[in-house]
Symmetry: C2
Subunit: 579 residues, 2 copies
């Protein structure tokens, strides 16, 4: 195909759009790939549509290769199915809800577990029918609180979601592995740099859920990698690694101090530094005790959980929630404290909590034998030398403290590094949650019903467009990997000589005949400088310039990624540019 | 590609679904192409998705061929753009509206004129940029009052919509003609029988809008064709043809009769048959006068329009509206009559209406010199011998009466036939309505702004799936034209002989290698009868059976459409089945 710049529906922009913060957003708008319609809602211009379709095609080919079958669900869905799983409510404000003319409640599908489960239930009934993997490539809708970064986090976005249905855990693992391999092929073909990281802490089984992250400074996700071993995990999913026990035999007995007006760790440290023996104390010597409500599925009332973490670290609520999954956590509010007078807000210590009937756990950083400055469970008072295993005994550990670069790897103890990444894929052994909700059973080999087990797998198709740009752009513009580029060759004719334009047009036609996809800049009144700038901004892998060199029978061929230039005789151009 | 029935996600049904009324709906569900999710909302199973994609591909190829450029708009759109053209309100209950978490109003796009107009305004600014044709293939949303017939009239449906942008009427006509030719190629390739009919009456220019209708008994649209000439039009768009004048010199003077209790034409005719000289009168001799409110764009107050039609015909409100377009009509309600005491409900006659300041028009069937029984503009009274041109003079004619088979062709006077059809395409010279709404101007060759003129063109992609089935099905199932069929060959292995299944598997692989798309029924425990019934129901163009004949080295090849069967030597099978 030859796309002529003179008629291509495209206008490049010299300036970054005012609302763009990340490089991919700026460049995709400037190079004429997308246009904003509303917050988190974008239109695709012709070149953008080609790139999007290219990515979707790669995803489809690799899904077909593992025997997955493509279906298509509506985006507009009736409430009833999402009511059955509780997600109509659980999704909260993230769900776009609407009513039809008859007052029926509908939603715009944010993900389709319910629909796929029901589809399989509708068609299949025997163990002989399984396994089956179904997928779709479809627009999803999520009313993000803060849509950001252009198409990196949109409210309408294109996603491939697939679901596997198996008889048993072994089957599920096979389906999961098939997806893992398919995703490796997909992201490799897309020319992406990616890491596969655990997305779930040890409690749920580290391999039951993994994310494919594209490392990028603008990524919303943080992940750790061990500098020693191959451990990698989403920061939320870092497993706690119990540290070595400390000998506490010489630790003085716990003692209570008056510490009025110490609402913060900083003020507490400040006050303690005035006490004898604590002149050099620091936030790391204090123990912060955080109270949360735990919503355990199937239990009506929330439970109270108190977690101790070193005072120099924030509690990472997402990590804590990942650690207690499938339970969910809620903040302990003033009215909750009012109902629990034993928990003195700002002055909670672990001493006596178990005796008072509370569940108290610590982050693995709080090792047995470690001693702490912490609350005395009395307003205006703190205690020191409060020692783990002597003055209090936690009911186990839970990874709750923010993870920092240099923390110990939970596998080998080596140092962890922390990086940012963009989530481009997610594979998840879902198990029987949705099969239970809809009683998805098949008749087993022994004539008894068997509950089906499921996996759920996603690729952010439109997000991948931006993620690729984030990883490959340079100061001149976008640099597309060939497989997804809007063309193979960006052919530029320069100058005012008709012969140049004719030679370039002939070359474009020859390339087209050879199966090379060409963008041909045939514009007559645009300067060579502007044309080259456009070519670099648009980011096609190879830029070929037909211009002055034609007199000597050569064209200039430039590798967009490396900037490397070479002259190629016109007669050899097709061979040199064919890929 | 070889699709094996043993693993294909498909279950055919023996019985028609309870909610299905039309053949395509019954068959597409029974053969496992679609499943209902909610009224007018369907999922596509694997074979359905293939057919849908095939149609979309044909549409895309033909759009690309006329130089149209593909873009992709969101389905979720902010209110503001549709507010600017008044369509936020005009669409009424047909529009799905919703609010986001911040209270912003959104809609699900029913059609995208606004968005395309704004996109071109955003990118283009010079006459040199035009013409341009943009299109998308995208899910549309309309909250139909009565979604019916499966995917024939859905609430979420796939549509190709394109828009042309030109400097002048000549350019618009060229773009319109390009689309007309593209649509002819599209529907020919889809294997459809279709008619191109005028969709707009003469007033607006008969060629400014045409529909592509697929004749089918289940079609919602009715259209006329002349048995003599090539005139064809949507019934709503049939032009009025003034009939020959009647000599009224011998017609008696108009006379008023007491006609109490004659609320209907039937009761009026009954009463008049009791009067001397009217013993044989009929509804066709009465003149019915219908009052409507006319909403003329740009005018604040509605106008009153009264239209006379022969009493044996209903007023076709859609035809009337098409005739007065761009004005719209509303019913004249009781409260409106209350404000117009001169209009005596049930007893309106044309006499004196013009003098009273009312606009009175007649259907062309009411020819000059014709005389009528009609209202006397007084409660309980009717008049007879009221003669057009003598007792009243209409302000012109307007096609308002229902069109009947046998009516005169407006072009040649020949008889019209009436048929039903499914609207599968629509091409429309939109003009400057949207360009005006958004001030879409480009700088013209003389340096002055020129208002752009637009065309709008649609193909119902998902609807075409059903329309094809409506036109080609038989008592055994679906019959797909090859270009859109889910496979080329449905290969059935019968019996229990391993050798048969192996030979069939080999043949499937050879066909695949030859580029033939194969559905291979490799199921072991399913009877030959069931397999053949499934094959016929699914509707792949060629059914090949590997079975008993294998002993003699032949397979049976059946043409699904004609039912014709022949034996083909196994060695020649690939050549015979390759297409």
């Amino acid at each position: 195909m030859v796309t002529r710049m003179s008629s291509l529906f495209l206008r490049t922009l010299r300036d970054d759009p005012a609302d763009a913060e990340v490089p991919s957003h700026k460049l995709l708008v400037r190079a004429g790939y997308v246009r904003r319609v509303a917050p988190g809602i974008y239109s695709w211009l012709p070149l953008g549509k080609i790139v999007l379709d290219n990515i979707a095609r790669v995803v489809k080919e690799e899904m077909d290769r593992i025997g997955a079958q493509e279906v298509q669900f509506p985006a507009l869905l009736p409430r009833e199915f999402y009511e059955a799983t509780g997600r109509w409510t659980e999704y909260g404000e993230n769900l776009f809800r609407l009513r039809d003319r008859k007052g029926g409640d509908y939603l715009l599908g944010p993900t389709h577990e319910e629909m796929f489960t029901l589809m399989v239930k509708g068609e299949y009934s025997s163990y002989k029918d399984l396994p089956v993997i179904l997928y779709q490539i479809q627009n999803k809708y999520r009313d993000e609180a803060r849509p950001r970064a252009g198409i990196l986090r949109g409210r309408e976005f294109l996603m491939k979601d697939s679901y596997s249905f198996d008889l048993d855990d072994e089957g599920l693992k096979r389906s999961y592995e098939l997806h893992r391999e398919a995703y490796i092929r997909i992201f490799t073909r897309l020319g992406m740099n990616y890491r596969i990281v655990s997305a779930m802490s040890g409690a749920m089984g580290g391999s039951a859920s993994e994310e494919f992250l594209a490392p990028a400074a603008t990524g919303e996700d943080t992940f750790v990698q061990c500098v020693n071993c191959d451990y990698a995990a989403n920061t939320e999913a870092v497993e706690g690694r119990p540290g070595a026990e400390i000998d506490a035999s010489a630790t003085p007995a716990a003692r209570v101090y008056d510490t009025p007006d110490t609402p913060t760790i900083e003020s507490l440290v400040e006050v303690f530094r005035g006490f004898e023996g604590f002149e050099d104390t620091a936030a790391a010597n204090t123990l912060k005790n955080v109270v949360v409500k735990l919503r355990v599925p199937g239990k009506k009332d929330a439970e109270v959980l108190i977690v101790g973490v070193p005072g120099d670290r924030d509690v990472d609520m997402k990590r804590l929630e990942a650690a207690v999954a499938p339970a969910e956590i809620e903040l302990f509010e003033a009215e909750d404290f009012a109902k629990h007078p034993a928990l003195v807000r700002g002055y909670i210590g672990p001493q006596g909590l178990a005796e008072a009937g509370y569940t108290y756990k610590v982050d693995p950083l709080v090792v047995p034998g470690s001693s702490w400055i912490t609350g005395a469970n009395e307003a205006g008072k703190h205690a020191a030398h409060v020692t783990c295993g002597r003055d209090f005994t936690p009911e186990g550990t839970v990874g709750a403290a923010e993870v920092r670069a240099g923390d110990a790897c939970p596998r080998c103890g080596g140092a962890l590094s922390i990086d940012r990444g963009i989530e481009i894929g997610h594979i998840f052994q879902l198990g029987r949650k949705y099969a239970d909700a809809f009683q998805l059973d098949v008749l087993g080999p022994e004539g008894k019903p068997v509950r089906v087990t499921m996996g759920s797998y996603g690729v952010g198709v439109s997000r991948a467009v931006a993620a690729v740009v984030e990883q490959t752009y340079d100061e001149r513009g976008i640099v597309w990997p060939r497989e997804i580029a809007p063309a193979d060759v960006h052919l530029v004719a320069t100058g005012k000589d008709d012969a140049v334009f004719e030679a370039a047009a002939d070359l474009a036609a020859e390339l087209d005949a050879a199966g090379v996809r060409v963008i041909f800049d045939d514009r007559r009144k645009v300067s060579p400088g502007v044309k080259l700038k456009d070519a670099e901004l648009i980011g096609v892998p190879t830029v070929a310039v037909v211009g002055k060199g034609l007199a000597e029978g050569v064209i200039e061929v430039q590798d967009r990624a490396t900037g490397e230039k070479r002259d190629v005789p016109l007669g050899e151009a097709v061979a040199a540019l064919a890929v």
